[in-house]
């Protein structure tokens, strides 16, 4: 595969055409903030936090879904991008009901971490305090849509890794919400295997284990890499390994 060379933040870097700007940036120690991206899941470019400037392109592009091209000149941290990222976090904060002090994910939350990263002092857009729902019908887990930022990690892990496709996004625009099956209570879902992968990949306190109280819900996402790697290398199927 051809090696492509390009510049990210004045640093010469190289990679292949199957790689994304985000992957190559991270390999070279350039940090771009992300939220919907998770190593092991397909990228969908939903949160727009990883937007970068590409010379010659009229629009900003998400680093997580943009493939390398020879000679690209990319900037990841301009004053404009910093401003946009801060605004995105402010809108995420105002469009949900985030009461961190009493949230299961307080101090272990990717949205909170991002708020520090972008230097959020306060939210300049008015808080909307939308009426969201909570579903505690599952025997082990709860979804609290007040804290959901619609990153769709739960949807993707359930579909791509567990193969159950319990979750989906219903509605449009600001009215979007995560639903189980055809908008049935999670506890009555016939597809959910209760594997808990969605809970572990959720970046906020929207999905959590029953019994977790304030600040107790720590998410672990490393498992995903192990599963995806093992699957790609077919480590779990002795017959297939033998054939190869």
């Amino acid at each position: 595969m051809a090696i492509l060379t390009l510049t990210i933040d004045d640093q010469p870097v190289s990679g292949t055409e199957t790689e994304t700007l985000l992957e190559v940036a991270r390999q070279h120690g350039i940090e771009i903030p992300t939220l919907c991206h998770l190593d092991g899941l397909t990228d969908v470019g939903a949160c727009r936090l990883c937007l970068v400037e590409i010379e010659g392109a009229s629009r900003l592009q998400p680093a997580c879904t943009t493939r390398l091209q020879e000679g690209m000149v990319v900037r990841t941290n301009t004053e404009r991008l910093q401003r946009y990222r801060r605004t995105i976090v402010e809108m995420l904060a105002s469009e949900g009901n985030h009461h961190c002090a009493v949230c299961v994910s307080n101090n272990h939350c990717e949205l909170q971490d991002l708020a520090y990263t972008v230097g959020l002092q306060y939210v300049r857009v008015p808080y909307l305090y939308p009426a969201k729902t909570l579903d505690a019908t599952h025997k082990d887990f709860v979804i609290d849509r007040d804290r959901c930022i619609l990153c769709s990690r739960c949807v993707r892990v359930c579909h791509e890794v567990e193969g159950a496709h319990t979750w989906d996004i219903a509605g449009r625009g600001i009215g979007c919400e995560i639903i189980s099956d055809l908008k049935q209570p999670w506890g009555q879902s016939t597809t959910c295997t209760s594997c808990g992968k969605c809970v572990l990949v959720c970046p906020t306190g929207a999905l959590f284990e029953k019994g977790a109280t304030v600040a107790e819900m720590e998410k672990r996402t490393e498992f995903l890499r192990y599963i995806v790697n093992a699957r790609q290398r077919r480590e779990w199927n002795p017959d297939l390994l033998h054939e190869e």
């Binding site: 904060a93 961190c100 009493v102 307080n106 909170q112 708020a115 520090y116 306060y122 008015p126 808080y127």
Partner: protein
């Protein structure tokens, strides 16, 4: 003349003020640096004029809070959102999914031990705004102290620079959100 410091308690649990008291022996140093002209821990009835720094705890949750917020703004040089409820609404804003009527019914009827009646006159209970909101949605705010509550160290650092007329630049360890 010493800088004039005020602290105000709006829609919060007083936890931020407790954290203020946690400054312990530094309060003695503070007392020598500033004049505390208004505070829930001082016996002063009306918010005075010409205040240099005002720390405001709590969300703006009642009509009285809203009036107080604008009075504070008119009479203070620096207004500080003191803690998460003032900054984001936080716990106080958890009531926002219900209407004031629903809340009063819950408190005075459903949970009443005896004589379940919603007070009809707002003489004894504060008149709730439709939603509890952060302070900066009502008045301009000059600095924000995050945390539920902010730590005593953080309050000390912020107040120390504010009374010298500087907006505090808090070290990153104090950066929080929510």
């Amino acid at each position: 003349m010493k800088p004039r410091l005020a602290t105000v308690w709006l829609g919060g649990c007083s936890g931020c003020h407790m954290s203020f008291l946690d400054m312990d022996e530094r309060l003695i140093e503070l007392a020598s640096k500033v004049e505390v002209v208004f505070s829930p821990i001082a016996d002063v009835k009306t918010f005075p004029a010409d205040v240099d720094v005002t720390l405001v705890e709590g969300a703006v949750s009642t009509v009285e809070h809203e009036e107080m917020a604008s009075l504070i703004r008119r009479r203070s040089r620096f207004v500080v959102s003191f803690g998460d409820c003032a900054t984001t609404g936080n716990v106080t804003a958890m009531r926002n999914r219900f209407s004031p009527d629903e809340i009063l019914h819950r408190a005075y009827v459903e949970l009443a031990d005896g004589d379940p009646t919603v007070p009809s006159e707002f003489t004894t209970i504060a008149k709730l705004l439709p939603k509890a909101r952060p302070l900066h949605e009502f008045v301009r705010v000059d600095a924000f102290l995050h945390g539920c509550p902010p730590t005593a160290d953080e309050i000390w650092l912020a107040v120390s620079s504010l009374v010298e007329g500087r907006i505090p630049e808090l070290p990153n360890v104090y950066q929080r959100y929510g």
